[in-house]
Symmetry: C3
Subunit: 202 residues, 3 copies
Amino acid sequence: MSWVYAFDLFGTLVFAISGVLTAVEKKFDLVGAAIIGFVTALGGGTIRDLLLGRTPVGWLKDIHYLLVILVAVLLCFLFRVHIQKLRKSMFFFDSLGIGLFSIMGTQIGLSFGISTPYAILLGIVSAVFGGVLRDVLTNEIPLIFRKEIYATACLAGAVCYVGLGYISPFEQIHMIVSMGLVFLIRYLSVRHDWSLPFKTIH
Amino acid sequence: MSWVYAFDLFGTLVFAISGVLTAVEKKFDLVGAAIIGFVTALGGGTIRDLLLGRTPVGWLKDIHYLLVILVAVLLCFLFRVHIQKLRKSMFFFDSLGIGLFSIMGTQIGLSFGISTPYAILLGIVSAVFGGVLRDVLTNEIPLIFRKEIYATACLAGAVCYVGLGYISPFEQIHMIVSMGLVFLIRYLSVRHDWSLPFKTIH
Amino acid sequence: MSWVYAFDLFGTLVFAISGVLTAVEKKFDLVGAAIIGFVTALGGGTIRDLLLGRTPVGWLKDIHYLLVILVAVLLCFLFRVHIQKLRKSMFFFDSLGIGLFSIMGTQIGLSFGISTPYAILLGIVSAVFGGVLRDVLTNEIPLIFRKEIYATACLAGAVCYVGLGYISPFEQIHMIVSMGLVFLIRYLSVRHDWSLPFKTIH
């Protein structure tokens, strides 16, 4: 099992936990919470696959994703309060997750012959639309559109990854550096409460 | 015309009526109500087809579905008050509908070579995501995630259907038994106000 | 560049501006506003393409659409107040946009061998679901389902376009006449505050 695959499953776990916790707060029932966890974790990649015509969509061919979602439900069932206390530090894992998802999404787009700007866009979609679907299904305005440098961090990471591809052949190092960049931007923006409001001139 | 197809059109009619009634309550206009009816009735199967890469999606090849939606709009136009009074007993038809949709969705998943757990998941998606889309489009938190054993009944029915396939060759009987199970669970849970809240240990 | 393509990009620009302005009102950040602009402009055609199995979806093969979205973001950044003052007259451009999108969507449906009624439905989906997604992502009840003859105008235009095809060979004239009809219906319904409420008999 490659480290990328291991990381992908780990990102899936973290996203699924975030979905289940949101669903529990909204008083969803057990199956509802599991569905929200599923959609949060796999929704972004699903939309990317659909836009590309990559069907059956990726996770339908790999039972591990379903198992990871069930583990997330079980962890929330057993250790909900502990996990909620961890939530602030969970942004650490979450940032690793979106970093990886942005870069994998970009890679997959490029491998389908999509032009670089759209491949980067697909990377961002992969990373952020799971959370967007979670917020839509729980009737919230998607948070990631409003605060903290979230989609922007994904954009920076994906651009970095593509840029490094032009100047060096070490694919794996590009991934690590780009994920590090996403993480750094997220860390600094949460710590210093950065945002990028849409301030218009007139 | 097979009884499965007849039942499928009937389930479509019941779901479309539920969508149109919701839209009328929200003061949607005529075409808006028709669109909500359409999405409620065919949204779940559409998502299943998209995930599988079964395109054009099923209903696009069969004009009867569109006719059934128009009949639903017409019935709501002519007999709205009567239908609303019937709404409680409509859960009877609704439960038959989700029973059939869960099982047909599972069958279609299996016929695409999807592993059994994901085929069952696709069955649940077929049955419940039409109602989820209806609630999202009318700006409600999806009801089915919150109360009455709804998705859970679909899960039980789909598992029952797959299980019977291992021990007996009588396909049609499996369908009837599994739909009966979905109906029974729904009936008991509505009658006794059952729910499956996500109670966590810590 | 054909006039249809030019018009398509122009419709994309107008829809993107409408999305960005809505996002700015909702205090979305810069990237969030750009994503809403993107979804509003290209969401309807994307859903049409997905239902048909036309993947990668159309815009993924043409970088001009992305450029147009970025121009829309830039225009809103530079001239937001002026554009908002223009908003009432923007319904003029918007109506041209939905007219074109309905007819192009119908054409694409027919070219995929879809029966005429569903091709017309795909035309309506192309024209209105971008706005529906915008409203869902900003947590509003989709406006177009509730007021002003909006989807209905698209329906009339698409029916007119298909009907003309039976009696005359002049494709381009059919498009112009049908777009004119959509525009006329929208103009009259906004001016005279027309609506088509779902008034039921009983």
